[in-house]
């Protein structure tokens, strides 16, 4: 199985000029909005420190907080299930649904369920699953994964959405008006909310102190999914736990400001106990998180609150799109999480980065993303995951740079080459640098030879 070829995927993304231009501009705009919010709160950097410290503390006591959460949730009347991996998660969800005779499931956005590939699993077992977040629904109808964890269809233009809707929900072909399209989806989804036997949400945060969890949306689709059907299933990654209600304030203040540049999402919903006459089932999911917890250089990635700010600021992400990473989690956070899922498949992702560090600066929980990307490169080299061409090139350069005479010979050879070779010999398929850039001109002499002529100590 070949590793993801991010560079190849990105070249196609870049060729679609109108899409690229919108994608880059839209996400940069979110980054600018985030900056305005951040600079508008004098305590912003202090909040980042607090958020990071709360998460690190929690992860260092994760077993205790998980047990506390479970005990409290049970006291509140919720059922609590545990799933070791994606397969178990899907099985648990299916068992709950079939025990209740549920054939239709409305759900709000949950990256965890994407990670577990839940939808195809349920659909194969005759359960109809309706994504209710607009971006997720667009992607579901187009049989494509979401490209961004907060704005799942950001890589599409209105014409694309119009085509998808005309093909699948009977909207007017050729009608690209955004308000029309959104209204068409509202009317299409509403009957599902009213008749579905079960609703599913993820959770942004789970509070150990009182066994409650929080779901943040702008559409209100999580609240509809959870408050209309009589069965509510909440799938929660074990790293979502925070200790107390008062800690929520720190995270809620930072989440939407980081994600979309608004002070809060339109709906911040706290689920504490099931409505009378209904059932609440919580599924706590590991799926590699406990393993990542033990990785000395990479456990900080578990602090992530899924705001997407790193994607918005990443210049590589904005010009290649989330789908080019070939994983549920893309962009900077994806680069440091995905190799833990599949080292070989994602061995190229740590190199889809210039290590510029902007992601680390915008992360509300201060994950040292670019440093972890650097560390993953060391893992890839140690575990022999580099492509042969690259490995060899690095080996040769390393050898040349470790011996002064070899180095000097290479420098003069390069100078001669650039000076004497015809253009076609320098600019061809062997030389990626030269595809869209000019190579530097060779100078008359190297610095070293100038120094020897002009300064060499007698």
């Amino acid at each position: 199985m070949r590793p993801i070829d991010h560079a190849e995927a990105s070249s196609h993304f870049i060729e679609a000029k109108a899409h690229l231009e919108f994608h880059d501009r839209r996400l940069w705009d979110l980054r600018m909005k985030r900056d305005r919010q951040a600079h508008g709160i004098p305590e912003w950097e202090e909040l980042r420190n607090l958020a990071s410290a709360i998460k690190e503390h929690t992860l260092s006591h994760l077993d205790e907080y998980l047990e506390q959460f479970e005990a409290q949730a049970r006291k509140n009347g919720a059922h609590v299930h545990w799933a070791r991996d994606a397969g178990e998660h899907n099985q648990v969800v299916y068992d709950i649904l079939s025990a209740h005779g549920a054939k239709t499931l409305v759900k709000s956005k949950s990256m965890l369920t994407e990670e577990c590939d839940m939808r195809p699993y349920l659909e194969k077992r005759d359960i109809e699953v309706i994504e209710t977040d607009l971006g997720e629904r667009i992607q579901q109808l187009d049989d494509e994964p979401p490209s961004h964890i907060v704005v799942p269809a950001v890589h599409k233009l209105r014409g694309d959405v119009s085509q998808v809707f005309a093909r699948t929900i009977g909207s007017e072909p050729g009608n690209n008006d955004v308000h029309y399209l959104a209204e068409a989806m509202r009317r299409n989804t509403r009957p599902y909310f009213l008749k579905a036997e079960a609703g599913m949400t993820g959770a942004n945060f789970a509070v150990a102190e009182n066994g409650s969890f929080v779901v943040c949306t702008n559409e209100g689709n999580a609240d509809l999914s959870a408050n209309v059907p009589k069965l509510h299933i909440a799938c929660i990654g074990i790293e979502k736990i925070i200790p107390k209600l008062e800690h929520l304030a720190v995270f809620i203040r930072m989440l939407s400001r980081s994600a979309l540049g608004s002070p809060i999402t339109q709906y911040t919903s706290h689920f504490h106990a099931p409505r009378p006459g209904t059932e609440l089932h919580i599924v706590l999911v590991d799926n590699g998180r406990s393993q990542r917890l033990g990785m000395k250089d990479f456990w900080y990635s578990l602090k992530c609150i899924r705001c997407g700010a790193c994607m918005n600021t990443c210049p590589v992400y904005r010009r290649s799109g989330g789908l080019s990473y070939g994983a549920t989690y893309s962009g900077p956070i994806g680069i440091i999480i995905d190799p833990a899922f599949d080292l070989r498949k994602y061995s190229t992702l740590p190199y889809a980065s210039t290590l510029n560090g902007s992601c680390t600066n915008v992360c509300p929980v201060k994950i040292n993303i670019h440093e972890q990307i650097y560390k993953w490169r060391q893992v890839m080299a140690e575990r022999n995951q580099l492509p042969l061409v690259k490995k060899e090139a690095i080996r040769v350069i390393g050898k040349v740079m470790s011996e002064p005479r070899l180095y000097r010979a290479a420098i003069s050879a390069a100078g001669l080459a650039f000076e004497h070779l015809p253009r076609f010999a320098i600019y061809n398929w062997l030389n990626p640098w030269g595809r869209q850039r000019e190579v530097p001109e060779p100078p008359k002499q190297s610095f070293r030879s100038w120094y020897i002529e002009n300064r060499r100590p007698r």
């Binding site: 410290a53 992860l59 959405v161 399209l181 909310f193 509809l224 209309v228 809620i252 809060i264």
Partner: protein, 200 residues
Amino acid sequence: MSSRDSILAAVRANKPATSPVPAVPLFERASRPLLDQFQEALVSMGGKLAPHSVGDVDTLLRSLFPDACVICSATSELRGTLPLDGATEPAALADVDVGVVRAAFGVAETGSVWLSEEELKVNALAYLTQHLLVLLDPTQIVGNLHEAYRDERFRSARYAVLVTGPSATADIEGVLVHGAQGVRSLTVAMVPRPAASRAT
């Protein structure tokens, strides 16, 4: 070994060295009047402010929503056309034009109003109705979210939501649309809590 036990065992084996939990300040700021901040934040999030009126809630509603047919109220201050109590099925609210609720309190920092099953009677009212009218006592506004999360009602409520403006999405080409799945509009009217219920 059950999944629960194996997950907890893995966590215990792998968890990093202990680090302390920080104390979270309240970040209180006595700057501008809370009401002004609240109103500004609400409007910037797409919410509307009802004009200040001396009439009763019924008159207010008629003036804001003259064409509304089905009105459902969760507060005793107004009787709607559709009765509502804790036993009402959520789906029965599918045709409500205007829902009326009284928020427990507001948050100035964000322009949010706090609602729970107490204030909503049926949670789905806040989402199935086309428009929501929220009554808020102007003296019941806290400064920021740190203060909000200290409210004891978070602990007693089964369901609590901070609602900020109407339902919204910008998932199609970044264009802002109100009324994505939930309410098309949210209007807050600054109406003091009636004397009888102020004892709570």
